[in-house]
């Protein structure tokens, strides 16, 4: 294995108070990182990671507001243990990033910090957003840049891109709740050769095809310290 993309919970953080201190989040990573099998994996392969809701609180939607608890404290702990080892992000104050390996390119999305709460404002004239304007711009720019400069383009999303998942939170915590933004993105992706979506979250494996063209591989590693 050359690399592991960790698009999922490094450790299940049981948030008892949204205002809890960074040190409490940090403790969760200490215990999670001490698991022997994970230490072994870290020694053998590079690990690229991005946070998901359980780094914050279940189904967290940051709404583009850095002050929304527990974003600051929880993301600080995440950066210390995982984020700082990632390739440089697009800007110094964001978590999403891209990198290249051989003739393959990867874009790792931040699906938590900018997402709005779907249907929270019935009077809003704007559709709910998963990525936020700044990240969307970065993603579209990246697609343009790597369209003909990389063979495979992998887009990593910590939550499923497919709308096929039902069951617990399947329609509310995934891209299914952000259908306008998702469909707009697919309108572009279907014309970019060899785009592959990698997603996690559902504790299952699925291989899904979008519009007869864009594959999505959804899987998630679970073990005794995940859940």
């Amino acid at each position: 294995m050359l690399a592991m993309i960790w698009s999922r919970t490094a450790n299940y953080i049981a948030v008892h108070s949204l205002a809890q201190a960074t040190v409490k989040f940090t403790r969760s990573y200490v215990s999670g990182s001490a698991v022997r099998s994970f230490c072994f994996s870290q020694e053998l392969s590079a690990i690229f990671s991005i946070y998901d809701d359980h780094e914050f609180v279940n189904n967290f939607a940051g709404e583009g507001d850095e002050g929304k608890a527990p974003f600051v404290n929880a993301s600080s702990a995440f950066r210390t243990y995982y984020g700082d080892a990632n390739p440089d992000p697009h800007h110094s104050d964001v978590a999403f990033y891209n990198f290249r390996y051989g003739d393959n390119a990867f874009f790792v999305l931040d699906t938590r910090r900018y997402r709005s709460v779907p249907n929270s404002n019935a009077e809003s004239t704007l559709p709910p957003t998963m990525l936020g304007e700044r990240q969307l711009f970065a993603l579209y720019s990246w697609l343009g840049r790597f369209n003909t400069t990389a063979t495979f383009k992998f887009i990593v999303s910590s939550v499923p891109f497919t709308t096929l998942w039902h069951g617990f939170d399947g329609q509310s915590d995934s891209w299914a709740a952000y259908k306008f933004e998702r469909d707009s993105l697919l309108d572009v992706l279907q014309y970019v050769p060899n785009v592959v979506l990698l997603s996690g979250d559902r504790h299952e494996f699925a291989f899904v095809e979008h519009r007869g063209k864009v594959p999505e591989i959804s899987g998630e590693q679970e073990d005794s310290y995940g859940y």
Binding site: D84, N104, T162, L164, F168, F205, E222
Partner: protein, 142 residues
């Protein structure tokens, strides 16, 4: 402690679309013609689904429900890219459950005529920025 295990992925969407295939065929008299076939396909369809991991064990301790640490199902997906033949870029997808291969699929991509940028910019300042954090010396760990 209780477990939830169910099939939660639908096979396809109700919304459908047309997929067009164009194939160039040479006839017996040497002429080439383009044959167009239109297939109606769902916008999304599940090609393969393994629900084995879709259970969670929960324990009730001191009145609070928590995820159980007894849960030992390990699911991972492995990707192998082979682009040595530019005409046939291949992605091999493998699902591994508890260390055993549960599904394997070869996805053949489109040939991409790669073009390369002619400019090379190195920003030494940004390359070194945060170097101590990257090697774990920038913050005090617990």
């Amino acid at each position: 402690m209780f477990a939830v295990n169910s099939m939660t992925l639908r096979a396809r969407t109700e919304a459908a679309m047309e997929k067009t295939y164009v194939e160039t065929v040479t006839t017996s008299d040497g002429a080439t013609i383009e044959v167009t076939a239109i297939e109606h396909i769902p916008e999304e369809r599940a090609i393969h689904y393994i629900a084995s991991g879709n259970y969670k064990l929960w324990v009730i301790r001191l009145g609070a429900i928590e995820p159980s640490t007894d849960h030992v199902m390990v699911i991972s997906a492995s990707l192998e890219v082979d682009t040595r033949d530019w005409r046939k870029p291949t992605l091999i997808i493998e699902a591994i459950i508890n260390g055993k291969s549960a599904y394997r699929y070869e996805f053949i991509g489109q040939p991409v005529s790669l073009s390369f940028t002619s400019s090379l910019t190195i920003n030494l300042g940004s390359a070194l920025k945060g170097i101590f954090n990257k090697i774990g010396l920038g913050r005090t760990l617990l």
